[in-house]
Symmetry: C2
Subunit: 401 residues, 2 copies
């Protein structure tokens, strides 16, 4: 089997941790696998280098930031190769560029355009463990680029895709994806398997494990991800394509997003294009709108509600003020949260939403907004009910069983 | 003018020092010059990374050591570019490879094979300050190589040669080359000018400033070096080609080398090839022999003396023991030193050596071995007289005037 391992900053956060990673890689290699390892910078390094740059400039040149930050991953890759060779394995460290990772020219948030796996494949063929500095590539001018937050995950998934690897194991300090946040519901269970689609909807549950860009890329490239802990030998969670038997499971997980704020507009003139105008303005200011609800018009007036992230509420407010002549009343609410029920099984079962509504009603939790997709039901509720709602839903769908 | 600046580890040893370097570069640029800056790693960084590697292996893979250590210079180059841009200058940081530095494939002590200055020249033409990570290049396989100790000086001189720069200013924490070590003779004077040949012979006086490999390369490429301090605005010492007026100066400097040990062999069989046999064995063991003196043969026996570095004396001793049947008596002496008088003016003046001998005799300093070249007279004396000899010679040639 050809397996790509990816180790995050905490997993390579000290020389001892790197040694432990080397042992894990050596074991996998000795079991007869071909191994490519993608590494992050040692935890703290990227922040240290960023602080250095900020000493000189509040807005440091992005091209040079990429050159600066890319060094962190190169250090880890070199050290891991040295450690593996000392263990008697043949290993070779590569920068992103040497590994054939070509990106576009947008420094600090470049996108991978292509990967030429020839160099990696040649080294694998000669029996070497290939270690690649994550988070980076080169653009068409030969300049070093970085891929933004979670970039090493992207490197790993893209490399796994290019090499047609059997799996991409993403190691962190968390041992998988749970049915909900265990800090809220201690009965939360680690999932064995989850589909890409569910993982994308459950982003908040996987936030510490891997980012949505990587899941999207894995889905596109058909890369099987395994989220595992580098601090234990526990089985992780497989993130892969939807399978028939998954539909037997009604709900996979319950996600909570506290970072939501609600804007409610009443008595909005029902002239054509007013909603479009508001949302165009918000988009121009880079404000992401999540849920939108518009009530049916009555006597020429309508009501409109939507949610934004809390940090963008102030900006949204400013924009709304400019529509005063068209809006009768408005309110802004920070004390809300979004609870989501996710599961591919929903598609073939009706009544999932109804079960949720009645369970929450029984706890006197009022649902203020609702949106549904094929595999998700999201509800906005008062923030004070967040934990109670999560536990109630986790229990009603028997996720603790 | 096109000027290459090179800043060593102490000169860029902190964020404040990098800021100070940025000001110096900005000033030179604003005076209308084109500037290329070659930087070392921040002082301590290379040692830190080497210690990291040693944690994993006593003999870490050289290819990966190069990749690891090269990151230090890349960090400094990126930070300096960020600092310069913040000052309103246009600047671009380059790795050794991006700057077109091609080396052979000998990791950790690679030699520069060629420099393609096109990329640097293009950026200079567009008005940018070009900042190059020193100490590194790439080989024909695209692998990162480093140039060994003093490598950033070599990078700077080679770049100055490739760009046909008007000067290569080497900045350190020392403000130039002195007529002798000021710790021994406080009256030592900073030289304004010294020839490549003299600098090579006075290596010990320039050891903290730049290494002989760089001086040799500068001589070959006809690069004018200026050794300056980055901690002051003092004029430095120019190291350049011999000029007519230099011959008026009889002696340029007095160098002292304490790291010498002497081997004296008496009653050596005068059979053909015995000396050759001894020195071949020494060479096979990588022992560098410095001075060699063989006395005229009398009654079939001869005497042979030579010097080695102190650290190699034990190994030399071992080899000599194997020649017992051919050697009547032998002694080994660690308590000696080598004092050298250097000056291109010697070539056209006789009597330089005689002056030295009589001055030392007047101080009761016995000269145990002598060797001379066109521009140098070296003498082995007892180590206890080292300082007295240096001061005596410094004074007799009026170097304090």
């Amino acid at each position: 089997m050809l397996i790509v391992h990816k180790y995050g900053g905490t997993s390579v956060g000290s020389l001892e941790r790197i040694e432990s990673v080397a042992s894990r890689v050596a074991k996998a290699k000795k079991e007869g696998n071909d191994i490519v390892v993608v590494v992050s910078a040692m935890s703290g390094e990227t922040n240290k280098l960023t602080d250095y740059a900020k000493h000189f400039s509040d807005n440091p040149s992005k091209r040079e930031m990429d050159m600066l930050l890319s060094s962190g991953e190169i250090v880890t890759a070199s050290l891991l190769a040295i450690a593996l060779k000392e263990m008697g394995l043949d290993a070779i460290a590569m920068t992103g560029g040497q590994a054939g990772i070509k990106t576009d020219t947008f420094h600090t948030y470049a996108r991978i355009e292509s990967i030429d796996p020839t160099a990696m494949q040649n080294e694998l063929n000669s029996g070497k463990v290939v270690i690649v500095a994550g988070f980076q590539g080169v653009n068409s001018n030969g300049e070093i680029t970085t891929l933004g937050r979670g970039g090493s995950d992207l490197s790993a998934v893209a490399i796994a895709g290019a090499l047609k690897a059997d799996a991409c194991e993403i190691y962190s300090d968390v041992d998988g994806i749970y049915t909900t946040d265990p800090r809220i519901e201690p009965k939360a269970k680690k999932m064995d398997y989850i589909s890409y689609e569910e993982m994308l909807e459950l982003a908040s549950l996987g936030a510490k494990v891997l980012q949505n860009r990587s899941v999207e890329l894995a889905k596109k490239l058909k890369v099987k991800i395994v989220a595992k802990s580098s601090f234990s030998n526990a089985e992780g969670t497989v993130i892969g394509k939807e399978s028939g038997k998954m539909e037997a499971v009604l709900v996979s997980g319950i996600a909570l997003d506290r970072n939501q704020a609600r804007v409610s507009l009443r008595d909005v003139s029902d002239r054509p294009g007013i909603a479009a105008e508001i949302f165009t303005k918000l988009a121009e200011e880079q404000i992401n709108v999540d849920m939108i609800i518009q009530n049916a018009s009555s006597d020429g007036l309508t009501s409109l509600g939507f949610t934004v992230t809390q940090s963008e509420l102030a900006k949204a407010k400013e924009i709304i003020e400019n529509f005063d002549h068209d809006i009768g009343g408005k309110s802004f609410d920070n004390d809300i949260c979004k609870v989501s029920i996710v599961g591919v099984g929903m598609k073939s079962h009706s009544g999932v939403a109804a079960t949720a509504f009645s369970a929450l009603a029984k706890e006197n939790i009022n649902i203020e907004m609702i949106s549904t997709s094929e595999i998700k039901v999201s509800m906005i509720i008062a923030e004070k009910y967040a934990e109670l709602a999560v536990r109630t839903l986790h229990s009603i769908y028997e996720l603790d069983k």
